[in-house]
């Protein structure tokens, strides 16, 4: 089939040219196409998968809320000023973490320590406020599968989603404490502070959506 041969030859050439281009690019092998150190890449991949966990939880919440109807009015039940303060604290702690990471890169050891401790303090304040909120909610009669305001899914989604996030904050406080301790003993590089920072910002990021979807909408 002469027609096909004629057609194939330029195709092959184009293919070889493509291959050359790939081999010359960062995807050619022998180097990281992402240009980041592997621990940082692993943290990013973990955060992507963790995002999908929360996406699953929040989508499930959205579907339930839309299809069940008669959702209680959150403004009557939650204290928006308390939740607003919690949001404020978490945003501030994210900002102090960003400063700690920048200080680590710049080599300012004392500033890293100061801002890491401020970030941990913010996390502890947030957890305290959440414990207070849960205590109030439970005193008013909310349980995992029942609550006095109507459909049981209201308190179920609240406890599961904020609990999951609170667990992440708790883990983050422990992670940051270990990071601060190891930094003070000069056992870790600035990169480790940056990776801990990525995790902490992620916790803040998830809260943005929980705050919006569970409390405000």
């Amino acid at each position: 089939m002469p027609g096909l041969e004629k057609h194939e030859a330029p195709g092959m050439e184009a293919h070889a040219a493509d291959q050359d281009r790939v081999l010359a690019s960062p995807w050619g092998g022998g180097q990281s196409p992402f240009a980041v150190a592997w621990p940082k890449l692993m943290m990013w991949l973990f955060l992507v998968s963790d995002t999908l966990t929360f996406a699953g939880l929040l989508s499930g919440y959205g579907v339930m809320r839309l299809s069940l109807g008669d959702w209680p009015r959150q403004a009557d039940i939650f204290n928006i000023w308390l939740v607003g303060t919690m949001t404020f604290i978490l945003i501030c702690s994210s900002a102090t973490m960003a400063v700690a990471v920048a200080a680590a890169r710049a080599g300012d050891r004392r500033m890293v320590m100061r801002y890491l401790l401020l970030t941990i303090l913010g996390g502890l304040f947030f957890l305290g406020a959440q414990a207070y909120e849960w205590t109030n909610f439970i005193h008013e009669g909310a349980r995992l599968f029942t609550n006095p305001w109507g459909i049981p899914q209201f308190s179920a989604t609240f406890f599961i989603i904020t609990g999951f996030h609170g667990g992440h904050v708790t883990g983050g406080v422990i992670y940051l404490s270990i990071t601060a301790l190891r930094w003070s003993r000069r056992k870790i590089q600035p990169l480790s502070v940056e990776i801990a920072g990525l995790y902490w910002h992620f916790v803040d990021l998830v809260w943005v959506f929980i705050f919006t979807l569970l409390y405000l909408i």
């Binding site: 989508s59 579907v63 109807g69 943005v208 919006t212 909408i217």
Partner: protein, 105 residues
């Protein structure tokens, strides 16, 4: 000059810690607007759409500046952002069913 040095260089040029103060400020402004939208009773569709847009803007600020994704290579940016679209796919798969129930009530 490696890419990481380049990123650091860009960061220094943009003024060290100042960018974090600016991002922090806007995150707070968006939060105040969010609470304001809830307190001033607006129509439900305005409330839901404005809150979702504000949440996405806050998320974009955090990812781009606090998590430095803006200074990373595009291949990493795509790797991180593409799976997030799966969240929309997930709701796209589940949403019609829930919305049908919602609108037939």
């Amino acid at each position: 000059m490696t890419d990481e040095q380049q990123a650091e260089h860009t960061e220094h040029k943009t003024g060290g810690y100042k960018i974090y103060v600016v991002v922090w400020f806007w995150l707070l402004v968006f939060t105040v607007i969010e609470v304001g939208v809830v307190l001033f009773r607006v129509p439900q569709w305005v409330l839901v759409s404005s809150l979702l847009i504000l949440a996405m803007m806050k998320a974009a600020l955090i990812i781009a500046y606090f998590m430095h994704l803006r200074y990373e290579r595009l291949s990493l940016v795509y790797t991180v952002i593409t799976p997030l679209l799966l969240g929309f796919v997930l709701f796209g798969a589940l949403g019609p069913d829930a919305l049908h129930v919602f609108f037939s009530r």
